[in-house]
Symmetry: C2
């Protein structure tokens, strides 16, 4: 996956795996790799580095006072019931269900399973459908957490390309579904793709749901970002076109409300909802009833719409500042995606530039990004990189891009 | 596992598994069974039923005001840092490490991994070591969550009996370790066993650590209960005798502080600490930094000792009331374990009584328990049951036992 051996890259790789000789690891443990992103977060924590490497929502825009009030109210109102084991909080499931319905998904609260964020949703669904050595279909360039629950679990990977303007290549998807043995799981990101920033067209959403049904492939729609839309038109999720019960929608409060809530959800076909619950209970029983109650109160009070309006306005500003800075400093040396929301922009540099090698110079110059190769399952993408615009002060964004442009120009000499 | 088909039991079993014909489940999903305990909790939620079936700490004894203050202080002090993604909270790891050292375990904070409760610790360690179709060793009668992460994951089970006075049969354990193929994982409960109430003797702890090292079997010590000691002498965990790095200790704040914190920990051998982190990140990234910070503040302020003193005094009272009631109403019809702490007492009735059938009559009479067979991997234990004393008002305990004694006497006629 790595294109050149650099010091930075070595620091990010798995290091020496000193395992006591006497204990044999599972095959799963043997295949899992440390998340490059999470290691990179540590490297870029230096105060003099402006990090466009993260995947965090803007800290100063998180609704601290409102969440604080919700937690305090819940503890005062519900007392120790908020500290106990508990079934899922029904008003929260209903709000999620209503929100999904408003987006065109026919569902009932019983189909909503509360998870610890989207990553746990991916874990649950991969364990529900995927055995080691069975085929799984994912985008060739995709979020590392999706790679961990498929390739990391020993699946035989079939990758499909993603168009930077319209989303995953649906013809390639059909080809991957058609081959025998039939894939046991497929995962796509519908909106504001991580790392590519692209969203699926309406027609592709419809076709993907049809393909999942026709080829009987459980289709996981991993959607942590769709609420972060700044402009353009919101499209229904793939799940809205799922008449056969083959699509599993994953949502998350991490990026739209706060990561430390560790709260997300799965909308499963009704027939499999109880299987999702059983599997989840075997992993860690349940999500915190305290946090569920607090988030439920937040949404019941109608605070989400106002929060998202403020949040997205601020994030749009950051994205626009990034677009302007890219045009100003890198207009002739890079191309990039134009996401209508989310957290990320994907840059493609000239073919001769390797972004792993570039990263070292960039950190020395005071700017960090994630090399695109970190997201590429089949290698390649050596001249690409992912930029995050959500968790940087807007006034620092042009400074960061200028620094980036300087090291790119040096490489390009 | 179930000895007789009754209406109650049918309601507790897996029900009709209507799976859409077109989606193939993983082999893991096919083997997992719904938790009998969690289903039973719903059945016994009726107001006229006194439930001794749960596994919950006493609601009214949870330190609500103190936890509330810790959460408020953290949000005020740390602001949005308490809402973001975050590495593990170091003062919490250090406190856990110090607590483990005070119990004789030589460890460093780097060996402490914060989990979402003990069940997630079991999940992580089973995925670290266990492949499907490989042997795992567990107690023949044990917590259903341990069964889910071993048998439920497709392991070939080797079970060992547990002595009701001294804990797991260590000779049987050695026999199970000695057989080929070598087991890839073993799980034992050291203190206040769920469901048996028994604690391991010191000599057995030492021998178990030696066996794990000699036979190179990763030994998981699942210990959610040891802080709940009412009397008798606290013994070092098995991990204290682990010179070879073969023992993995699992602790939890769920039973000693509050379940909805969803917080526990693993102490792993230093060589495998980073593997534990990588595997955990692939499951759901991390535990809530908000909750970690709040619990960290709770323990840094030195609140744990006082809380546990009050908590254990109240729980001891409940246990003693249960012991007295059992002696008074069932002295000639049952025998039971004498735990020095924890949550549970294990009853053995006359051979001719089936406790699944008894449960139906008991619920009709206004008392609930868990039939012992629900914990028995190999069947059997039909005439046993588990009683919880921690989450019942003390004045209701004699009423519950009198009701239980009446239905037992009717069965015994």
């Amino acid at each position: 996956m790595f294109m050149a051996a650099t010091a930075t890259q070595a620091a990010l790789s798995n290091g020496a795996r000193t395992i006591p000789a006497q204990l044999a690891l599972s095959s799963e443990a043997g295949t899992l790799k440390r998340s490059v992103m999470r290691e990179l977060l540590k490297l870029t924590a230096r105060a003099d580095v402006i990090s466009l490497a993260g995947g965090l929502p803007a800290s100063e825009l998180l609704p601290l006072a409102q969440l604080q009030e919700c937690i305090e109210t819940v503890l005062r109102r519900d007392g120790t019931r908020a500290l106990q084991y508990s079934p899922m909080i029904e008003p929260l499931r209903r709000w999620i269900c209503d929100t999904m319905r408003a987006r065109g998904v026919a569902c009932e609260p019983e189909q909503v399973h509360i998870t610890n964020g989207a990553q746990q949703g991916l874990t649950i669904l991969s364990r529900l459908f995927l055995n080691p050595d069975q085929p799984a279909v994912v985008e060739a360039i995709t979020f590392t957490g999706i790679q961990q629950v498929t390739a990391g679990r020993g699946a035989v990977m079939r990758t499909v390309p993603t168009d930077l303007a319209t989303g995953v290549d649906v013809d390639a998807l059909e080809e991957a579904f058609h081959r025998t043995p039939r894939p046991r799981l497929a995962v796509v990101i519908p909106d504001f793709h991580n790392p590519l920033g692209v969203s699926l067209t309406l027609e592709k959403r419809q076709r993907i749901a049809e393909l999942a049904a026709r080829y009987r492939v459980p289709l996981v729609e991993d959607d942590p970002y769709s609420a972060l839309r700044f402009d353009g038109q919101s499209l229904p999720p793939i799940k809205a076109f799922d008449e056969a019960g083959a699509v599993f929608y994953i949502g998350s409060f991490s990026k739209m409300l706060a990561p430390s809530l560790r709260l997300g959800w799965i909308v499963a076909p009704a027939e499999l909802a109880s299987q999702v619950t059983v599997l989840r209970e075997s992993i860690d029983l349940e999500s915190s009833t305290l946090i569920q109650r607090a988030v439920s109160l937040f949404v019941e009070q109608g605070l989400m719409a106002g929060h998202l309006a403020r949040f997205n306005a601020a994030n749009r500003c950051r994205r626009d500042v990034l677009f302007d800075a890219l045009a100003h400093y890198l207009g002739d040396r890079a191309s990039w995606t134009r996401p209508e929301g989310g957290l990320f922009v994907w840059l493609t540099l000239r073919e001769e530039i390797d972004t792993w090698a570039l990263l070292e110079d960039a950190i020395a110059a005071g700017v960090a990004f994630v090399p695109g190769a970190a997201f590429a399952l089949n290698g390649g993408s050596h001249n690409t990189l992912r930029l995050n615009f959500s968790n940087v002060q807007p006034e620092l964004i042009p400074v960061a891009v200028e620094r980036l442009a300087q090291v790119i120009k040096q490489k390009g000499k």
